[in-house]
Amino acid sequence: MWNPYATLESRQKQALAAVTVVVVLALWSGLSLVVGPNKLPAPWSVVSAFIYLAWDADSGSSVLLEATLRSLSRILVSGMLVVSVGVPLGVLMGAAPRINAALSPLLDPFRSAPVVAVLPILIIWLGIGEASKIAFLFMGAVVYLIPMVRDAVQAVPSTYYISARDLGATPWEAIRHSVVPIAMPRIADAIIVSVSVMWTYITVAEYTSNTPGLGNILQRAQRAFAMDQVFVGLIVIIALALVTYQGMLFLKSKLYPWEIE
């Protein structure tokens, strides 16, 4: 039992996980009967709310699908912006102490600033449409990504830089050909964390308007005290976040199979 290095058979692992799920579902069902559906909806009412949101036979449309696609595309657009700004900036800061010293005062306060409080300002500046949502997700994630990329670059052992310089590389060539390629797995980790952060911010980003989105489903359901729909929204967001996380981990293991030395 108490051996952190023991390996389990995958059958055993799955069985233990299944037990946990069953126990949680049972507890959840029991508790929902005790406290009532206004506070905790039963698992089966969450399922029926899911079906209701997933397919509306009258209009022949799916609220949930549209919301999911909208949320996904917001994450995708702001994710690409975050990566294309955050990675180069982080690399520059990691590679040049002067750039780091110059940009740190811009960056460090934001890491501890309540990004959520910035949202109203963004709405005043950019309006209530897509721009403010994208900008909010961007800001929330990029302040995490940049320092992590910088740290990834600085964590590369100096031998690689020195060796490349010794072979005749210019300082920039040594960064480009020796330091950055070795920092890539950690940079990929940083991107994965930032995208996960975006999934937690999506609800906040979509709270403020009536355009479709998963956050919007949550907000409307809360207003209508439809707790079962709130649970559906939560579960879908968690599932999507998990799928993107696992997908990116898989992609990383394919791109950088050499990482485990």
């Binding site: 052992p157 031998t159 690689y160 020195i162 060796s163 490349a164 310089r165 010794d166 072979l167 005749g168 590389a169 210019t170 060539e173 050909h177 020796s178 390629p181 070795i182 890539m184 950088y256 050499w258 990482e259 485990i260 030395e261």
Partner: protein, 273 residues
């Protein structure tokens, strides 16, 4: 192939780790090499021999002026940083884990300097030849993680020699290898040197290694580093185990150990068998 490296009155000081003042690591060192050969630089660990080596056309330490005073001349010209004709091999191989053996060996040709100097066809020829020479011809498509420590050091050696440097600087390159692999690498180095006779300066704290490889052995004292002894060995290589145990071999070993102790080394000296 003519080549010369000359250190004139080289002094190296580092800021003291505690409080003020400076520590003199190298104190007025005069040392010169003027022909191809394997030159061993021996001294207790921490005596500044790596710093001395890096002055001979390698990358200087960051954050401190190197040397503090004195002059370094390569081919009679002052040298203040990495020299095109000098390549260094480190104890840490610095092989890129994401590249194959072959890509690692041809790594220098990704750099502008060598891209301009060596034509593509010539690059391929050189990479083929050096992979063959270090015994990795059939391992070209493997990655560093799939190789042993000795094989990784072969990659690093090949990457240096593919540039045909006139000066090869080796900073305790076999220090992290096990005894048997170290023997193999020493034999390999001798073979490679026969094919490509450059000027090797080889830093070690292993007395046997100095005796097995060296045409010339320079013993440094510690804090500050100065030349404590400097002699040549005429015995042809490869030097057998029986030569090492012969009167001359033992006499030289005794001589080095004596100088090291007289130099007041607080550091460690290794005699491997």
């Amino acid at each position: 192939m003519s080549v010369s490296v000359e250190l004139k009155g080289v002094i190296q000081e580092y800021p003291a780790p505690e409080g003020e003042g400076v520590i003199q690591v190298v104190g007025g060192l005069n040392l010169s090499y003027d022909k191809p050969g394997i030159n061993m630089l021996l001294g207790p660990s921490g005596c500044g021999k790596s710093t001395v080596l890096r002055m001979m056309g390698g990358v200087r330490p960051f954050g401190v002026q190197t040397p503090t005073r004195g002059e370094v001349l390569i081919d009679d010209k002052p040298c203040d940083g990495p020299h095109d004709d000098a390549v260094m091999v480190f104890q840490r191989y610095a092989n890129r884990p994401d590249l194959t053996v072959r890509q690692n060996v041809s790594f220098p040709f990704r750099l502008k300097l060598w891209k301009e100097r060596v034509q593509p066809a010539e690059r391929e020829r050189r990479v083929d030849a050096i992979l063959e020479a270090v015994g990795l011809a059939d391992k070209g498509s493997l990655r560093p993680a799939q190789l042993s420590g000795g094989q990784n050091q072969r990659v690093a050696l090949a990457r240096a020699l593919v540039l045909r440097p006139r000066i090869l600087l080796m900073d305790e390159p076999f220090g992290a290898l096990d005894a048997q692999t170290r023997d193999e690498m020493q034999t390999l180095l001798v073979q490679l040197w026969e094919q490509q006779q450059c000027m090797i300066v080889f830093v070690t704290h292993d007395v046997s290694e100095a005796l097995i490889l060296g045409d010339r052995v320079t013993v440094l004292s510690t804090r500050p580093a100065l030349v404590a002894d400097d002699f040549t060995i005429t015995e042809p290589r490869p030097r057998s185990a029986s030569w090492q145990r012969s009167t001359e071999g033992l006499r030289l070993e005794e001589r080095i150990l004596e100088r090291l102790h007289a130099a007041g080394g607080h550091g460690q000296v290794r005699v491997s068998v």
